[in-house]
């Protein structure tokens, strides 16, 4: 008995670390190695590749954000780009018109997005399913409509020019010095960390319970609404965080920067990979985000043909997204990597697994 306790204590640190990356001990060094490799990547790749990697990073963060709502709560949100837009516009206005520093502006913008998340969660309190999907879509149109028309605040259709580059201690990010790449890499790692911490906790279990059966969750004493609200606020903040980097990355944004296509792309990412899984978000964004560029590359192989016979990759990309949605739902609704977890259920600390799980 004493021996076991001793063993437990020594394992404690590695177990806790392992909890972040699922239990396998080899996973930790492998993960660190992967991060080092990812850090070295911009040194060897072209700017074109780097740009695409950054876009994948943005969509990965957005995917993680939507995953809180669609993956763990089980509600389809069609307006997720609204938070992305709010984050981007708020940081741009705070750094240009209000003349604030970049990081204070980021903090304020992320908080604002959290507030909008809260607002959306409350406004959709009594609905679920398609009703909720349509309300989130209306939320997106509402936000974009206000951004387009409130000239005094958002510059209306003109948009915001000359957004200052993001910087850290006066060191301005550019594509060349890889600043945006490292920043979005850090955000992706942060999203992974926060998701891992969340789903391993009481909140995560409660959220999954709400997704599987709201009624049973209520009967088990879980306040559905609390967890819904937490998920929405977190999702809003994370998407807003991505937006605060996207605005200086683009340098110019207007109301057309954020579209319904973007909302659907985020949804397609987590459907393809597997909603409610972290691997799914990563794999989904690696497949979906560069699809436009891949199509463009494929089509340019046939450039001996006259241009009017060649399909427009921008448009066909969206048809493919639609097809992915329909086909995935038909053949593999849980996504490529989704489905039942093959790992043992981890009992909360303090409960012996043998006693608890039989």
């Amino acid at each position: 008995m004493k021996n076991r306790k001793e063993k437990n204590r020594t394992e404690n640190v590695s177990v806790r670390l392992g909890m972040l990356f699922r239990k396998k001990k080899a996973a930790v060094p492998a993960f660190l190695l992967l991060i080092v490799l990812l850090c070295l990547l911009p040194q060897v790749t072209s700017l074109y590749i780097q740009r695409n990697l950054i876009m994948v990073g943005f969509y990965m963060v957005l995917g993680f954000s939507l995953n809180f709502v669609t993956g763990y709560i089980g509600e389809v949100s069609l307006g997720h780009a609204a938070f992305y837009a709010i984050g981007a516009f708020s940081v741009s206005l705070l750094t240009t018109d209000a003349g604030m520093g970049y990081w204070p502006a980021v903090v304020l913008s992320v908080l604002l997005c959290g507030l909008f998340g809260l607002l959306l969660a409350f406004a959709t309190m009594r609905v679920s399913g398609t009703y909720l999907a349509i309300l989130t879509l209306a939320f997106f149109y509402l936000v974009m409509n206000i951004i387009q028309n409130w000239e005094g605040l958002t510059h209306g259709v003109v948009g915001i020019y000359d957004i200052p580059a993001a910087n850290i201690f006066g060191f301005a990010f550019t594509m060349k010095n890889g600043g945006y790449y490292y920043c979005i890499l850090a955000y992706v790692l942060f999203s992974i960390l926060i998701t891992r911490l969340l789903i391993g906790s009481r909140f995560g279990r409660a959220m999954k319970a709400v997704r599987e059966d709201p009624l049973a969750a209520t009967m088990a004493g879980i306040n559905n609404q609390t967890f819904r609200v937490i998920a929405y606020v977190l999702a809003g903040m994370l998407a807003g965080l991505a937006g605060t980097l996207y605005a200086p990355f683009c340098g110019y944004i207007n109301y057309l920067t954020f579209t319904y296509n973007m909302c659907l792309m985020i949804l397609v990412i987590i459907i393809t990979g597997g909603r409610g899984t972290m691997k799914g978000v990563i794999v989904g964004s690696l497949i979906i985000a560069p699809l436009g560029e891949v199509l463009r590359g494929l089509i340019s192989l046939f450039d001996s043909l006259p241009a009017e016979y060649l399909p427009d990759p921008e448009q066909w990309r969206f048809v493919i997204y639609g097809l992915i949605m329909v086909v995935m739902m038909r053949l593999r609704p849980q996504g490529i990597l989704g489905g039942k977890s093959r790992l043992d259920y981890r009992m909360p600390a303090g409960l012996d697994k043998k006693e608890g799980n039989g």
Binding site: G74, V76, L78, A123, T124, M125, R126, V127, S128, G129, T130, Y131, A133, I134, L135, L137, A138, F139, Y141, L142, N145, I146, N149, Y260, L264, L267, I271, P311, D312, Q315, W316, F318, V319, Y321, G322, L323, I324, M325, V326, M328, M329, R330, P333
Partner: protein, 292 residues
């Protein structure tokens, strides 16, 4: 001016009602909001546009052909995408995402084929104006409202007086019991999709004639407003859809009158949020319908 806005509101509101009925009917039998309904609406308007402007058919013939083709599209949607899911017992989120995907495919194929720019749509009832109480009211608006009214009455006769309508109502109440009594549930669902798509096509034609243009993104906002109407009236209820459509249309027109046209689209969305927050069953909705 005031009266004109009211008439405008009624005309556009009746068109919303016609789209809203499509949402309601499908919801009635499947307990599913057909998210692709707004795409079907746009498809219908384009089908008629092709007939009139490209093939130079007679307007009446073009509408008939466009409506028939759109009805077939509705059946195809059900047979190809939704029926296999029902057979696997996958309703709920997979069905919702499938309809989102189908709507996305339809809209983007339309964009590829016709381009995203506005196309001029013929004004169908360009017969000038009538003057009542000092207000100049276009025949266009009056005829659109009347056409919608005739169609809505026809639909309600189909639902309430025919044998197929009886089957529809039976499936609506209890699909299993209906099947035991010899009703082919799949046929009923197919018929509902046909009716919904056909009425969406007619509504699409009328709305396109009202605004005198059509383009692929045309149905997005109108679909959303029609949904707001369906929700306001109470989803699953035919008179509710009409009432909701009229309220949304008239309130919107009056909002233009009072606030200007900048924020017009916001009115319908705010109405929708308010209804779903305060009274999710809508004005004429029955209690006990579980919103899944």
């Amino acid at each position: 001016m005031f009266l004109e806005q009211i008439v405008n509101g009624i005309a556009i509101g009746m068109s919303y009602a016609l789209v809203a009925v499509g949402y309601s009917m499908v919801f009635g039998v499947l307990r599913l909001i057909n998210f692709s309904h707004s795409a079907v609406f746009t498809f219908g308007a384009f089908a008629v546009w092709v007939g009139v402007e490209m093939l130079h058919l007679n307007v009446f013939l073009a509408i008939l052909a466009g409506v028939a083709i759109t009805g077939v599209l509705g059946i195809g949607l059900n047979k190809m995408a939704l029926e296999p899911l029902r057979k696997k017992g996958e309703t709920g989120m997979p069905a919702l995402i499938t309809t989102i995907g189908m709507s996305y495919i339809i809209i983007n194929v339309l964009t590829i084929v016709f381009g995203s720019q506005m196309r001029r749509f013929p004004a169908l009832f360009n017969w000038g104006q009538i003057h009542i109480f000092g207000a100049a009211i276009g025949w266009q608006q009056v005829m659109i409202a009347l056409a919608c009214l005739v169609l809505l009455v026809t639909l309600s006769l189909i639902v309430n007086k025919t044998k197929s309508g009886l089957a529809m109502r039976a499936v609506q109440q209890q699909p299993t019991a209906a099947a035991i009594n010899g009703i082919n549930v799949n046929h009923v669902i197919t018929f509902v999709f046909f009716l919904g798509a056909a009425s969406a096509a007619i509504a699409g034609t009328l709305v396109a004639a009202y605004y005198q243009y059509v383009r692929p993104s045309f149905g997005d906002v109108i679909g959303l407003k029609a949904f707001a109407a369906a929700v306001l009236g109470g989803i699953g209820s035919l008179p509710g859809a009409v009432l909701g459509g009229l309220i949304v249309g008239v309130v919107e027109s009056l909002a233009v009158f009072a606030l200007g046209s900048t924020y017009i689209d916001l009115v319908a969305y705010l109405v929708m949020f308010a209804v779903l927050l305060i009274r999710p069953t809508g004005l004429l909705g029955r209690k006990g319908i579980k919103k899944v």
